[in-house]
Symmetry: C2
Subunit: 347 residues, 2 copies
């Protein structure tokens, strides 16, 4: 076997010298395995929410058209990076082969079922067939193969939770794990998009970390997600609103916090133009954590400057130490959340 | 006078209900002044570096074409927001009129010379004539008027420093002020784009804050900026490199830090595709501060995840408390920097 680069540079075709994520085209020939690669027999793609929302919009929801767009993405790039959102997702599969340089050095063996925790936007992928599209949960079953690089992270799939539930939870593992690190006792926390998948996990962690002296406020869009979040009981206040309309949301937050606003705002919505709402609802000295891949860097930077706010704004990092463990532990801890995830994400 | 909204909502034409920054079109009719607005007789626009670089590229450097692009931006939007980069800049002018609701409540009177510290991307602007383009320092002299909203921030121009120098320094005031807040004694700090305008100010602050036990590393692109930074003497190490090529820069940083990498990386370069270099050169537990308006949110977020780095990434906020004071104080403190700014930015 030929030696490979830790970051997968050996698979980059164009442009030369860049890493696999920004590359326009990477090598998805799976007949040759480099010595530090893991070959995966892919079962399911869990497409990133911003990406799948865009694909659904472009296709008008038509499955044949979705199939065509996804196959075209992979044919052009050797990976499933959405050309509009730049984002990817993750995958579930079975270890087929382990490169000679990794054998015995990692806790995997052929036959193990794993989820990759690096983005599809940098993962060499070949799709032989798209078998089923579950567009309500952003999952697509395929026949195909993928490569995990030496620097790539993964999680073994526990056997006591259905696979599609594990995959759904791990897809957003960064958000609740970052929430756990950021929120301190007594904080007022606003979660925008709190009724969605990552939102409910963040709401649980925010409640746990802010504690009895803290205030957790959940904002949702649809009536359905508002009702769902209320029923979970993690939040002190739950309200419906449109995160692209800062002026109205600001008024609501002024009411709920007596004009104090949030110490920490966590933005989980996967639509554009929610930066200003996040900034204005947060204290001047507070912190906004943007987990949404639809966040615009310049809109956030110039937005805060434009209203003279000294808020700290963090780019959501999908990875943080032990994020898979933290996220799966939430499902073990909370019967309400496990029931919800079983209802929404088991297939 | 009619009452205006604090954030300038009353000037938004399209789409309705959004704030002036994301709006596609705002009202730049200066014949009507709202009661909480300040009318400014504009003398100079200091276009944001990412924006002006883009305009120069699009025009091929031709001044007539630059003029045309800038007039077109303002004609279409009522403000000078660059449609490609989304960024603006700031302006220098004289207070012409103060709305009745603000009179006596602020420390300004007609005739005061001020710089606006909010972005041009949200400032109502009318350009009557473009008089001079100084494309080496991103400044354009015009005849025209602008409006400062009640929430807008500004700085009075000191009389002991040339105006164009003050404007150049205030344009990037956020960067050195944030550096002052972030860097702690003993830190290893990497500044990418350290030979540019904001870079040298950040290098000065980083040296001051990291102290004798810290290490300040400056990376520059051109030989000229490398020599300039070396001559200033703020950095322990200065080297030339291409920030879009993470692999090479990574090697150099491994050498300089004995494989430890930086605690804090400050990115000041105004070109795309420098996210990975920033991430890989920073410790897993470190912090990257993106001041560059050319930063892509998704490239940063997915880049860190892709290599399994737990780094904290901050969106550069152009405003932070007292940033104008901090930045002008640097020029008063450092004779080397004052001399450099006088040489580069006085007209």
């Amino acid at each position: 076997m030929q030696p490979g680069n830790k970051y997968g540079l050996h698979r980059v075709i164009e442009p030369k010298g860049v890493l696999p994520q920004p590359a326009n085209k990477i090598d998805n020939n799976m007949d040759i395995l480099y010595d530090n690669e893991i070959l995966i027999d892919v079962q399911t793609l869990n497409v990133d929410s911003a990406s799948f929302t865009q694909i659904k919009e472009q296709s008008g929801g038509d499955h044949d058209k979705i199939r065509e767009i996804m196959l075209d993405n992979v044919a052009k790039q050797g990976k499933h990076r959405n050309p509009v959102t730049g984002s990817g997702g993750m995958l579930l599969g079975t270890v087929e082969k382990i490169g000679s340089a990794l054998e015995g050095k990692i806790d995997l063996k052929p036959g193990d079922k794993i989820a990759t925790l690096v983005s599809l936007s940098l993962t060499p992928l070949r799709i032989d067939k798209i078998k089923e599209i579950r567009d309500d949960i952003d999952q697509v079953d395929i026949d195909g193969k993928a490569i995990l690089f030496e620097s790539g992270i993964y999680a073994k799939i526990p056997t006591n939770i259905p696979e599609s539930v594990v995959l759904s939870a791990l897809d957003v593992a960064g958000a609740p794990a970052q929430t756990a690190k950021l929120v301190k006792p007594g904080d007022t926390v606003l979660i925008i998009g709190a009724g969605g998948k990552s939102g409910v996990l963040c709401a649980y962690e925010a409640r746990k970390r802010a504690g009895v002296t803290g205030t957790v406020i959940g904002m949702c869009h649809s009536q359905r997600s508002t009702d769902r979040l209320k029923a979970l009981g993690f939040c002190d206040h739950v309200f419906s609103g449109d995160a692209t309309q800062p002026v109205e949301v600001l008024k609501k937050m002024e009411e709920l916090t007596g004009g104090e606003m949030a110490d920490i705002t966590i933005n989980n919505v996967n639509i554009p133009d929610t930066e200003m709402t996040s900034i204005l609802c947060t204290k001047d000295t507070g912190l906004v954590y943007f987990f949404s891949m639809a966040t615009s860097f310049t809109k956030a930077a110039l937005g805060a400057e434009g209203v003279g706010s000294d808020v700290t704004m963090i780019i959501g990092n999908g990875y943080t130490k032990d994020h898979a463990e933290i996220t799966l532990a939430i499902l073990e801890e909370s019967k309400e959340l496990m029931d919800l995830f079983l209802k929404l994400y088991s297939n």
